[in-house]
Amino acid sequence: MEQTNPKANFSNFPINGVSRNHVVTIMPVPAKKLVIKNLKSTPELPEDYMNQTWKKLKGAVVAIQQSKANQYSLEELYQAVENMCNHKMASLLYKKLQSLIEVHVSRNIEQFVAESMDRYLFLKKMNETWQAHCQQMIMIRSIFLYLDRTYILQNHISSIWDMGLELFGKYILLNTLVQTRVVEGLLMLIEKERQGDQVDRSLLKSLLRMLTDLSIYNVSFEQKFIQATERLYAAEGQCLMQELEVPDYLVHVDKRLAEENERVLHYLDSATKYQLIHTVEKQLLREHVSQILQKGLDQLLTEYRLTDLGLLYDLLSRVKNGIVELCSAFNAFIKKRGKTIVINPEKDKSMVQELLDFKDDMDTVVTKCFHKHERFTNSLKEAFENFINQRTNKPAELIAKFIDSKLRAGNKEATEEELERLLDKIMVLFRFIHGKDVFEAFYKKDLAKRLLVGKSASVDAEKSMLSKLKQECGGGFTSKLEGMFKDMELSKDIIQAFKLVHTSNKKLSQIDMTVSILTMGYWPSYQHMEVSLPEYMVKLQDVFKEFYLNKHSGRKLQWQPTLGHCVLKARFNSGPKELVVSLFQSLVLLLFNDCDELSLEDIKVATNIEDGELRRTLQSLACGKARVLLKTPKGREVQDEDHFKFNAEFVNKLFRIKINQIQMKETTEEQKATEERVFQDRQYQIDAAIVRIMKMRKSLTHNLLISELYLQLKFPVKPADLKKRIESLIDRDYMERDKENSTQYNYVA
């Protein structure tokens, strides 16, 4: 409470609310010099001077009090005061003035205690009385200015202004009844305003100033006001939390806070602000934080209501623990919502896109609504990492497949910059994945397809993705993927060298042959199949194999017919076409150069292609979009007794026609095989990491080694498994237990 200055002085007054216009007209020219005259040479005074002069001054004061015209000039009155003071009558003058004011003030009380006035009228009356008092005191003071500046100053007694205040307080406001009426009236007005009514703010302001000037603002008003505020908003909070939707409630609270701030600005003492706002915040917010979050946050986030979320953040940041609770509710929402995206196998198709969108949305919420508060950024990451790993392996697999769909040729939906940005976003998801090696295994499968079939949309994008992965997980992680690119480059060199040597071979130059030589271990493992090729193709293979093994001793080559593909020239009645087909499709079609019609069994014997694979191949040629073979009887599926014929009447707009091989659905066994390999690879990676760490550190305790391993490994692993690998490495003499400290290992060089 700052209102402890009882000597609110004259020059302050106009700020307190009384119009200055009146004052100016009545004020003496203020340039009067303060001259203390020599008291020894006091001039003789006429007898009865004191009575005469006082009578004059009294007349003037009474005229002011009764708002009547003054008989004497201000200068004359002023001089009279100066004279009296200089003739040792100052004390007397002060007392006389005091009792004159006292009489007047005390007379004013009657109207406030007597009748039971209407509250509002009462306040109006009180304000008028107060305003009048102040104006009178200003005028009186200007007459008695000399007294103020000499006698009062020297004797440290209340100035004329303060004396007036003291008397006003003593006779009017310190009357319990009057004071209670004033305060209750004020509270009633404020309550009315809070209910939405228009009230006379200048009346409120003036009367509150009066309380401050009389030093009773704090004791008589402020405490009751805060109590009333607390009561009102406690009830309002309870009620509106039930009645309103959270966003509406928040808007209401925001409005209340703005109103209360305005109240301070317009008529409350500024010292009340802290307590007032704090009380509102406590009753409307702090008391309801958990309910607000429980009832409203999920909805706001689901409906992506940024403005409301921003308001929620701003409001909750005003109360203790508000941000902490908001953040943990935010975290819980992400985990709950994220889990529904990730956990349901039926939604696998859209999982990654949904994750990307969800991440985008939540990022925007943190940036735009939560002011990028670090607590929220971290919490967002933690929540994503948590829920994305609720389902083992699948998100990793789907992220890999998603990337494939974006890197594959034909994906023209994005410019290079857009693709780059998308890849960056996917990397953010990838970062959350615990089983990074599961991702690698599936990524590799798709990459292999893109490289072998020449389906990659852009080498730059491939390289860019690879370098992102390398940056994220280190060179060890990407070395095999890089090896695949390297294989493709080396294959080009080899086939060039091969062609250079065999240019003279006529048979070879007929067919444009390329060979992709894959390093086993870099690439996914493929099921091996033996098929029967036409002899000239077998010869071609053999010539190449010999050439290759000559260059690379100690190696062996295994052909992968499942991965081969060809371009066939075809002659239809409508004209020549080129067919882009798989090796299996080629083998089947080439048979029809010699026979017009073949049964399923004939084809099986001739090609030696595995039954299921063969049926799918025939289906693609005879039941698909481009039917270059005719099947009898007709039908979608290939049956045992079916016969096939060359479709000479085949027509197609295009010259070059790609006939897609029907892909076998990835079986659970294949899926398992991929996971099994991942698991096998993990053993090697753990071993390598242990050796790497031990080589660098030379000796380490068990616990330190384990914790370093957890930093390096890109997949989840149990401590027991790590222990097994350590034992195995001790067996193989890569490291040993310390002879004195059995919990410590030493590296064996």
């Binding site: 890089e482 042959m513 190696r555 090697y684």
Partner: protein, 109 residues
Amino acid sequence: MADENENEKMDNENQKPEKMFTLKKWNAVAMWSWDVECDTCAICRVQVMDACLRCQAESKKDSYGKQDCVVVWGECNHSFHYCCMSLWVKQNNRCPLCQQEWSIQRMGK
């Protein structure tokens, strides 16, 4: 079709224009690996197609580790990582599998 003569015939016919299908372009795929009896190096117990354990531990940036970490065959026809074997022979100049005296028959390339 399994008939030799028919294959020969077809081979010749491949150049004749009146055939319905002619092979124009062929992208074949093959997988290479070391020509070894046992896939795993008995010294480091890593597959010989992968770099040996020490090379794996070291090669953070050397992503083409294989060129340095090749396979070596002894006269006994047993094979190991060259790295592993060269450390092994420093202590014991015998094949860890058959205990014959170690001498290099050939190296992978």
